[in-house]
């Protein structure tokens, strides 16, 4: 690893902090967008043997450019094997083969429940979002869940209009009460900080603050009074290696998506 650098954007810090959370031995169910960038960065840096699975059916895929969709040809071309979508959801996800599900969302609350369905009433929505896709079952069937989302008051809300996929439940107790054996969201990585569930209340609490970010910045960009863990550390800055690999990957991706 080379020396740390201060020349990075908040989004790069978020992606890099998210990548670091993944382990070489993980079998990871990858959401499209920010999760996909983080998972492939992990694979191209410290976790070369990580197994990345996309819901289109591609298992152990190693794309050289990031896919725009969940089923770009690149994913199939570089996969160990590609299975049908029913098999993916039944045998691999429901079958309990996935160690980490990596999700993003439009909105999140303090117990890491996610909304990607509607803002406003379901029958008369102010904003109709895409919906759940694979997320409702990813949230309950993976051994644990990492979430990556940039902080804003619009996205980090006190109360969700709709729970598309359950984190720890509306008040933090529902998941346990239902007897679900998987852990649920254990990490929330934002462009400002890293959060983990409080051992008792399951409220997502700040455990690490990214370099150059203040507590008041964090507090001003979410819709609830934020809680800090007993011990809060500073997230290590991105290394030159991490930044270089990330930027190369994104430059290749931009070029590929414009050409096609």
């Amino acid at each position: 690893m080379s020396a740390a650098t201060a020349n990075h954007t908040p989004t790069e810090m978020m992606t890099i902090a998210a990548a670091r959370a993944l382990r070489n031995e993980d079998v990871c169910f990858v959401g499209i967008g920010a999760p996909s960038a983080a998972c492939n960065l992990a694979r191209l840096t410290h976790a070369p043997n990580i197994t990345l699975i996309y819901e289109s059916g591609t298992i152990a895929t190693r794309p050289t450019v990031l896919p725009l969709s969940i089923g770009d040809g690149e994913l199939c071309d570089t996969a160990l094997t590609t299975v049908s979508v029913p098999e993916m959801f039944r045998y691999w996800l429901q079958g309990g083969r996935i160690s980490v599900g990596f999700l993003g969302g439009a909105q999140i609350d303090r117990f890491a429940n996610l909304n990607t369905t509607v803002v406003g009433a379901y029958d008369a929505p102010k904003v109709r979002l895409p919906g759940g896709g694979g997320a409702p079952e990813i949230a309950s069937n993976c051994q644990e869940i990492f979430i990556i989302m940039a902080q804003s008051k619009r996205a980090f809300v006190d109360r969700l209009d709709f729970i598309t996929s359950m984190g720890h439940g509306r008040t933090g107790v529902e998941r346990r009460a239902m007897g679900i054996k998987t852990k649920g969201p254990t990490r929330l990585i934002t462009d400002m900080a890293i959060y983990a569930p409080d051992p008792e209340t399951c409220e997502m609490s700040v455990v690490s603050i990214h370099p150059g970010i203040s507590r008041s910045q964090i507090e001003d960009s979410l819709g609830w009074p934020v809680r800090y863990a007993a011990e809060v550390v500073e997230t290590p800055s991105p290394t030159h290696d991490e930044l270089e690999v990330l930027r190369d990957m994104q430059a290749r991706t931009r070029q590929a998506h414009q050409q096609s």
């Binding site: 967008g33 819901e55 289109s56 059916g57 591609t58 896919p67 725009l68 969709s69 969940i70 089923g71 770009d72 040809g73 690149e74 994913l75 199939c76 071309d77 590609t82 049908s84 979508v85 029913p86 993916m88 959801f89 039944r90 996800l93 429901q94 429940n113 369905t117 379901y122 029958d123 929505p125 102010k126 904003v127 109709r128 979002l129 895409p130 919906g131 759940g132 896709g133 694979g134 997320a135 409702p136 079952e137 949230a139 309950s140 069937n141 709709f162 729970i163 598309t164 996929s165 359950m166 439940g169 529902e174 998941r175 239902m178 679900i180 590929a256 998506h257 414009q258 050409q259 096609s260």
Partner: protein
């Protein structure tokens, strides 16, 4: 046995107003040319079924072909909203759209149940998810052996499945490779099936013995439409046109620009307009 026919005849023969139609293809092999033909023939009151209603269903919805949508994720993958889908739900334009919303796992299981001639599907899912509060077709069933409560939903049994495959042989058997999604299940769950293909070959040649091949006698109509998946892709033939998916955001955002695009590129064209996209793949080396 499948009949080879023009796409125009296949849609006229197989799809009627009010039918329940599943056009499937999970990112790969989306039957865009067939969707355009349905729009040109002005089918109405369809119930459209599809896990990922992306651009093709945005177009069908925006052109007023659908009364109802059964789906699990409605967006432009990697780009953002489907503006015509949103306009229909948020503003009832061009007409109201009923929705029946599920998760991917539920839809995949429900297609499989349809193919297996079962009345319903079950899975361990929807735990703590609000969809079960707003969709009366999400129910539960108790395992008679363990007592575990599982989510249940009706099998999907469309009137018509529409898919795009790589190629057909002279007998009308069709081959799919790569990301095969739920197409096999959708065809086997449906009363009728239309399959568009890139080309017809004398023999499939050396295929993997476990390749997804749908026998001719499971299909109603086979139509040769080279490029017919564009802007989706056909592995080994052409790549996904990601730049078009990005461009669709601006085209579809505004009702007038959407209608102008549809007139120019769909209403005033025929299936042969897709041939220009049937170029050899730049990136894909599967075949």
């Amino acid at each position: 046995m499948a009949e080879f026919m023009s796409l125009r005849d296949a849609v006229a023969h197989c799809i009627g107003d009010g039918d329940r139609v599943a056009m499937e293809g999970f990112t790969h092999l989306i039957p865009h040319a067939a969707g355009h033909e349905v729009i040109r023939q002005q089918r109405k009151h369809l119930t459209l079924v599809r896990m990922t209603p992306d651009i093709i269903y945005d177009q069908l919805i925006g052109m007023g072909c659908a009364d109802k949508l059964v789906f699990s994720w409605g967006g432009n993958p990697g780009v953002g909203s489907l503006h015509r889908f949103r306009d229909a739900i948020e503003n009832k334009w061009p007409q109201p759209l009923d929705i029946e919303e599920h998760s991917h796992a539920a839809m995949a299981n429900a297609y499989e149940a349809g193919a297996a001639n079962l009345p319903f599907a079950m899975m361990r899912g929807y735990l703590g998810a609000d969809l079960s509060l707003v969709n009366p077709n999400i129910r539960s069933v108790t395992c008679p052996f363990t007592g575990e409560v599982l989510a249940a939903m009706p099998a999907i049994r469309p009137d018509v499945a529409v898919i795009h495959a790589l190629r057909a042989d002279r007998e009308g058997n069709v081959l799919l490779e790569g990301i095969t999604g739920v197409q096999k299940e959708a065809v086997l769950a449906s009363k009728r099936a239309i399959v568009t293909v890139e080309e017809v070959v004398d023999t499939f040649g050396p295929t993997n013995r476990n390749a997804v091949i749908l026998p001719s006698w499971t299909i109603t109509a086979v139509c040769v439409v080279p490029g017919g998946a564009h802007p989706s892709y056909a592995q080994g033939y052409y790549s996904r046109d990601n730049s078009f998916y990005i461009a669709w955001d601006a085209i579809s955002r505004d009702r007038d620009s959407f209608l102008a695009w549809m007139t120019r590129h769909v209403l005033e064209q025929g299936p042969e307009a897709f041939a220009v996209h049937a170029r050899p793949a730049k990136a894909s080396k599967l075949s």
